[in-house]
Amino acid sequence: MKFIKKAIPAITLLIICAVSALLLVFVHDLTAVDEAGNVTPEIKAALAGIYGDTEEFTVYDTPLGGSETAYVNMSLRGDGGDYAFIIVSNGYNKEGLTLLIGLDSAGAVKGIVTLESSETPGLGTKTDSPEFMGQFIGFTIDEVPAPVTPDETVYKVRFAKSKEELEALKASQPEVPASFEWDAITGATLSSNGVFDAVKLAVTAYREVHIG
């Protein structure tokens, strides 16, 4: 009897834990939505905003690739031959910006849409304005500087098949070219840089997948 009395607290705790675990398993199965690799309505609307309603986009491949500060989360290809990339970039917060960057048939930036931003409201979120984003329209790979040594390639963005490989491949990305001038948002330098990093990654990734 003494033993049972001593065991009661442990058994009670065990029962409560078991019931909790069962409940959580049930609710998790009920609510889990796997959206990885799917073109969600939100992405569709953003694409329509850049390209109009006529072009239909599909995920043609989902290579993981990126630089130190940004990575490609999804690559999309339109039936008209245009490419768009969803890029997660570090702003003030790590992975604070999720941007959809659409490129035209020449590989220049056609439009940028902020899909998700966890930047500071009123400061970092100001990057989502036509004035700021408009600066990058027309930005191309030509504006990313040429390699310094023959061994070093311009296209430092590489694509990986697994997360482990991606970590190994996160090399440094091209420096800001002297020829391209843009203005950061006052008080939101890191968020502004995050957008520019994403833009540079998009045009480099285009070169990688389109020209090879």
């Binding site: 009661i8 607290p9 442990a10 009670t12 705790l13 409560i16 834990c17 909790s20 409940l23 959580l24 609710v27 998790h28 609510t31 889990a32 939505v33 998700e116 966890s118 500071t120 409201p121 009123g122 400061l123 008080g187």
Partner: protein
């Protein structure tokens, strides 16, 4: 008002024993997520849901749970509801889920919830515990909304994301320093209107939960 009545159990959380503004519990989410009024309400309601459910379950189990393991049991119940809230928000309100971020999971260690479980739900009937949880949660929501509204209007010139076209905004208000500043002013205003005086001597008599606290009755 009679302190033993059910109405008092519900209403005391709004002003007299407001968890944030009077008891100064749950400061971490109060300062961190209140950069926008809508975030404040979202966080407040998520906490209210957890507080209500955990108070009900803990009150229902209060005679079953042995005293020696009561704290682990409370924590398991609370974290279960926090995880449930996390799943549900992720599935149905992903925008709010991503804005609240890590603070949603941190509801688990919000001392308001464990505080109410230990001080109230483990000693009172199911109905009173539910009313207490609801009142405390809504009081917390009101406090977060007030914080979020002030910071969003002064710091971003917006209210619920709508631009107010103010001639001057002070971005310091959306930053952490502005959070402390706003909280201090709001606490001062609440003290003024409830005609409370700061305790001259720190002791059990000055504590807002003196009526519920077991240590106080024991003379501790």
């Amino acid at each position: 008002m009679d302190k033993k009545s059910n109405i008092y159990a519900l209403l005391k959380g709004f002003v007299v024993e407001n968890p944030t503004l009077v008891m100064l519990l749950g400061m971490c989410p109060t300062l961190a997520v209140t950069t926008m009024a809508s975030n404040g309400i979202g966080m407040g309601l998520a906490t209210t849901f957890v507080l209500l459910c955990s108070n009900i379950v803990i009150s229902a189990l209060r005679k079953v749970i042995p005293g020696t393991v009561r704290l682990p049991c409370f924590i398991v119940v609370i974290t279960t509801f926090v995880t449930l809230t996390d799943f549900i928000l992720k599935a149905y309100i992903p925008a709010l889920h991503s804005r609240l971020g890590i603070f949603l999971s941190l509801i688990a260690v919000n001392c308001i919830i464990l505080g109410r479980a230990e001080a109230f739900a483990s000693k009172n009937s199911l109905l009173r515990s539910a009313l207490d949880g609801l009142g405390m949660g809504l009081g917390f929501t009101c406090a977060l909304f007030a914080m979020g509204a002030v910071r969003e209007i002064l710091g971003s010139g917006q209210f619920f994301g709508i631009d107010l076209h103010l001639p001057l905004v002070f971005p310091i208000f959306v930053m952490p320093a502005g959070g402390f500043f706003t909280l201090g002013i709001i606490i001062a205003v609440v003290y003024k209107f409830t005609k409370r005086k700061p305790p001259a001597k720190v002791g059990c008599a000055a504590c807002p939960i003196a009526s519920d606290c077991i240590n106080c009755k024991e003379g501790g």
